[in-house]
Structure formats: structure tokens, C-alpha cells
Amino acid sequence: MAAFPVSSNFEGDFVIQLVPVDTGNTMDEVAAACAVHSINRRVAPRPGKILRVRRHSDGTLFPRNMKLADAGLMPTETIDILFMDA
């Protein structure tokens, strides 16, 4: 468990943002942390959709319960946060 910065590229938003998360977080928790800085700020909520995390550089979609520590990301590496059907 350690603090870990990621760069959040949130679907529908105009800017990539620095978001502090934790290596022990699941991908669902990472997505929720990123949502705080985009949803209801510049991105309208989309009821019925869930958020998924994708590696920005190669498009790998991470399992929802995968721990951040197991994803092989570098500190500040950019991840896409996408709206998807549940």
C-alpha cells in the first residue's frame, strides 16, 4: 500500500489531471477517485453506466477488481476512464 499518482484522462473531459490514488486500490476505486475531478465538474453524470479503467498507451482494459499494484503502471502514467454498460 503506497500513494501512487496517475494521470486521469476522463471520457468527455478536456484535460488530463493528476490524481493521487493508492497501489492497494482496485480499478473501480481508481475510477471513482478520478471521477471526483471530472464528473459534475465538466462532465455530466451518465446514469446506468459504470466506469472502467484502460491503459492509455496500448488500450488494455483492466479488470474491475484488479489492484493498481498489479497493473504495471509507471507513476503518473495516463489511464483512460471510460463510461461503459454494466
Binding site: 484522462n9 473531459d13 478536456f14 493528476l18 462532465v43 492509455h56 509507471m74 503518473t76 502514467e77 495516463t78
Partner: protein, 497 residues
């Protein structure tokens, strides 16, 4: 006493050349400072500046220019235009002075490098005047805003900005350090005078002068028009240097310098001039959109100059043109959303009339940028100011030092151009930003952008308050909405209906 005619002595006095006896050519013109690139002094002596001026002529003209600009200022001072100006216009002027004034002083050092170290006598002669020009520009653009410092501490940022670690100041310093403070004389002639001044200062100084006149700010309009007459002259130093480089097989190197300088200049102007022209200036005072100015001055005129010299359009030209519909809208939204981090009060520029103008000039604006502004506006209508202020920092490009942006809403395309170099992960806002780094990583790899400094613990406390302190922004200096959110009333009334 009879005087010789100008043409009888001009060529002799402009050369200021002599044959060194006590030092070698390399000692007189060190390559690192001169950038002669193996071309002989005889060849550099063929440098033929298109604009010829003598010192007496220069002094006479400059005196007249200063007298004109300062007279307009003095005559209109009692008119107190600033007291009744649209707050968005005041933001234009404050942003301009902070980003430009001290940089002009720095430019006089770049001109001085050409004046002393260029191997081309004509270049040395013109740069003498160029150095005096830039000194004048620094002085006049500090003197004029100083008259308003009793009105607000934000005016003091005309002088203060470059001496801080405010993010826009870091971005401006990074650009100017790269293309004018750390290049040899010929590099300065090409990157500063040809690429930056020929193209971009025209837009800032002529475009903004036109908007200023429309907005009723005749003091500012006459001042920056006066500055631009100097720029138009000393910007011509690059052309003859390029001709010599091309003649001696150095076209590729010249093209690379131009491509780097144009891209980096474009990015800075997308955050400085773009929001000013398309959002801060009141709709009725806008002459053309930022995109239209760019198409006229950069894509049209400057492209023609490149081709006339035998150079090519930069490899990323299509990307730059595509960016005219995108980049500055994102820069504007970022500046407004992170408004406490700037020294001026950004005007949102999204009243119904503004949005109609934006949709007309940038078809699709409402479905992209408008989507984000819809959410921001709804929050203000519902008194959720907290959601319109940042709770973190944007990821920043390791080349332009500006946020990494894309088109939002229905056209979402935000992309980070990442690169791992010697084990460090770098972020770039575009392919050309990353290319600038990749062609010379030794030059750029050590620079730490604001996020790098934040993560390295240089910014304490490690939160937004700490970042504002690091940027030297105090209450009274931090930006807020230029119109104090009066524009939200349109939407409140609509919501109440």
C-alpha cells in the same frame, strides 16, 4: 561643412569588420556563441539585410514613435478608460503585459548576442538597433501598466510574472529560454526573429491593436502598434541568415530550428492570444476569430515566406491547422477553471451571445466545449461554486509546460503523447511537442515542469494552497471570473422560467 550622402558611407559603417591580429577567428567568434556552422567569414559578409537604417535615422524615428505613444497615453490618462473598460478587456491587457514585458528585456540580450557574435556584419548592425528596440519595448510595456498599479495588484504582474514560478510564467520562460537565450547568434536570428517575430508577434501586436481600437483602448492600441513597427524591421534579420545556410547545404538544420520555434510559439500563443481574442474581448470588439487571425498571419503569409525562401512547411502543418479548432478552447477552459492560478481575471465568455458567436466561428462548439460549459454553468446556477474550482492539478506537457488537452464532449479525443527516456516517464500534449524533445533530449531532459516539482516535494504543502504559494499568488492577485459571474444571470433567469 558638407555631409556625405548616406549611400556613400552606409556600406562602410554597417560592416564594422576588421582583421583580427591578436586573437584567432575562433576566439573572436566562438562557435558556441556565433554559430557560423563552418561557413567562412567571407560568405557571412554577403549577408544582405533587406531593411537598411543608419543610427541618426533610427534615433529620429524612434523618438517620434515614443513621442506618439507617450502623448496618446498622457492625453487619455484623464479619460480614465480603464475605469469604465469591460473587465474582460482589462484581463487582456494584464495577461499581455505579464507575459510579454520582461520577456522583451530578455530579447534585448538575444539581440545583443547577434550584435556581438554574429559572423555576418549586416546582422551585427541590424541587431544593434534590435537590441535598442527590445529595450524600448521592455520599458514602455512596464511604464504603461505601472500607471494602473494603484487600481489593482494584478497590474504589478507586468513586472512580477517572469520573476515567479507561476505556471504561465514557467511556460513563457521555457519557450524564450529555448529559442533566444540559449542559442547561438544564427539560431537567434532564425528562431526568434524569423520564426517567432515574423509570424507570431504580428498576430499579438497587430491583431490585438485592432481589437484594442474597437474596444476603445486607444492608449494600448497605439502603444503596441508602435512596438510592432520595430518588430517588423528587426524580424527581417532571419531571412538573409537562412539564405546563407541554405546556400551552404544547411537547409535541414535551418528547417529543424524553424519547426521547433514555430510549434513552441504556437502553443504559447494558444494560451495567451487565443482566449484573449475569442473569449475575453467583448463580442462587439472582436475583429476576427483567433482561428481567422492564425489562418491569415501564420498559415497564409508566413507559409508563403517559408516557401519563397526555399524552405518547406513544417512537417506538422496539418496538425497545427487542425489545432486551430481545438487547442485554444481547451487552454481557455483550463485558465478559467484554474483561475486562482493566474494573475488576471479570466472572462468566461460564454453568454448566450458569446456561444452563438463561438458556434458560428467554430461549428460544433456547443456539442464539444459547450458540453463542459453546460456543466460549469449549471453548477453556478445552483450555487455550487465549489465544483467550478479545481481540486487537483492538470497533467502538464514536458515541452510546452501547458496542460495536456483535447476536445471534450461528443468529440472527445484527449490524448497524452508519453515517452520513457532513460527510465523517466515524460508527458507531451502533442506529437510535435514530443518530437521537439526527441530530436534533442540532452537539451530538455533535465527540466522539471510544475507537476514534476510537485511530485518531487518542492511544493509545500502539497495541495492547491501550496501550489498558489509556490506561484507567488496572494489574495488580490489570484484570478477570479472577470465579470464576477454576472453572465450566469442569463442562465439563472432561464432556469427560473
Amino acid at each position: 561643412m558638407s555631409l556625405l550622402k548616406r549611400e556613400q558611407w552606409y556600406d562602410l559603417t554597417r560592416a564594422t569588420s576588421w582583421t583580427p591580429k591578436y586573437v584567432s577567428e575562433e576566439e573572436l567568434f566562438p562557435e558556441q556563441m556565433s554559430g557560423g556552422r563552418g561557413i567562412s567569414l567571407e560568405e557571412w559578409a554577403k549577408y544582405d539585410e533587406p531593411y537598411k537604417v543608419t543610427y541618426p535615422e533610427y534615433v529620429t524615428t524612434q523618438r517620434e514613435k515614443d513621442a506618439g505613444a507617450y502623448s496618446v497615453k498622457a492625453a487619455l490618462e484623464r479619460d480614465a478608460f480603464i475605469e469604465r473598460a469591460d473587465p474582460g478587456w482589462i484581463s487582456n491587457v494584464q495577461a499581455h503585459f505579464g507575459a510579454i514585458a520582461v520577456g522583451e528585456f530578455a530579447a534585448s540580450l538575444a539581440e545583443a548576442r547577434m550584435m556581438r557574435f554574429s559572423k555576418a556584419p549586416g546582422n551585427r548592425n541590424m541587431a544593434t538597433f534590435g537590441m535598442l528596440d527590445e529595450n524600448r519595448h521592455g520599458q514602455i510595456q512596464l511604464y504603461f501598466p505601472h500607471a494602473n498599479t494603484h487600481r489593482s495588484r494584478q497590474w504589478d504582474w507586468a513586472h512580477k510574472a517572469y520573476h515567479t514560478n507561476e505556471w504561465a510564467a514557467i511556460a513563457a520562460r521555457s519557450l524564450f529560454d529555448d529559442m533566444m537565450m540559449t542559442r547561438d547568434a544564427i539560431g537567434v536570428a532564425i528562431m526568434l526573429t524569423f520564426a517567432f517575430e515574423t509570424g507570431f508577434t504580428n498576430m499579438q501586436f497587430l491583431g490585438l491593436a485592432a481589437d484594442a481600437a474597437e474596444a476603445g483602448d486607444h492608449t494600448f492600441s497605439s502603444m503596441i502598434s508602435s512596438v510592432q513597427t520595430d518588430e517588423a524591421r528587426h524580424a527581417q534579420q532571419g531571412g538573409p541568415a537562412l539564405q546563407i545556410l541554405i546556400k551552404h547545404g544547411k537547409k535541414a538544420e535551418a528547417q529543424t530550428m524553424i519547426d521547433v520555434a514555430i510549434w513552441r510559439s504556437w502553443k504559447l500563443f494558444s494560451v495567451l492570444t487565443g482566449p484573449i481574442m475569442d473569449y475575453y474581448t467583448p463580442v462587439h470588439a472582436r475583429n476576427q476569430s483567433f482561428k481567422e487571425f492564425m489562418l491569415e498571419w501564420i498559415v497564409g503569409q508566413f507559409e508563403r515566406q517559408l516557401l519563397d525562401l526555399g524552405l518547406d512547411k513544417p512537417w506538422y502543418w496539418a496538425q497545427l491547422i487542425e489545432g486551430l479548432d481545438q487547442t485554444h478552447h481547451g487552454m481557455h477552459m483550463g485558465v478559467w477553471y484554474w483561475r486562482p492560478t493566474v494573475w488576471w481575471n479570466p472572462a468566461a465568455g460564454v453568454t448566450p451571445a458569446d456561444r452563438e458567436w463561438l458556434e458560428q466561428k467554430y461549428p460544433g462548439w456547443n456539442k464539444t466545449w459547450g458540453r463542459c460549459w453546460d456543466v460549469i454553468t449549471d453548477n453556478l446556477v445552483q450555487s455550487r461554486m465549489d465544483l467550478t474550482l479545481p481540486a487537483t492539478l492538470p497533467t502538464i506537457c514536458n515541452m510546452c509546460n501547458l496542460p495536456i488537452l483535447g476536445t471534450p464532449g461528443d468529440g472527445w479525443n484527449t490524448k497524452d503523447y508519453q515517452l520513457v527516456h532513460e527510465g523517466r516517464l515524460y508527458h507531451f500534449g502533442s506529437e510535435p511537442d514530443r518530437w521537439c524533445f526527441q530530436i534533442d533530449p540532452e537539451r530538455y531532459k533535465g527540466h522539471m515542469n510544475l507537476i514534476d516539482r510537485f511530485l518531487a516535494g518542492q511544493i509545500q504543502p502539497a495541495d492547491l494552497a501550496g501550489a498558489l504559494k509556490y506561484m507567488n499568488l496572494s489574495p488580490g492577485e489570484m484570478g477570479d471570473d472577470a465579470h464576477n459571474y454576472a453572465w450566469v444571470q442569463h442562465y439563472q433567469k432561464k432556469a427560473a422560467e
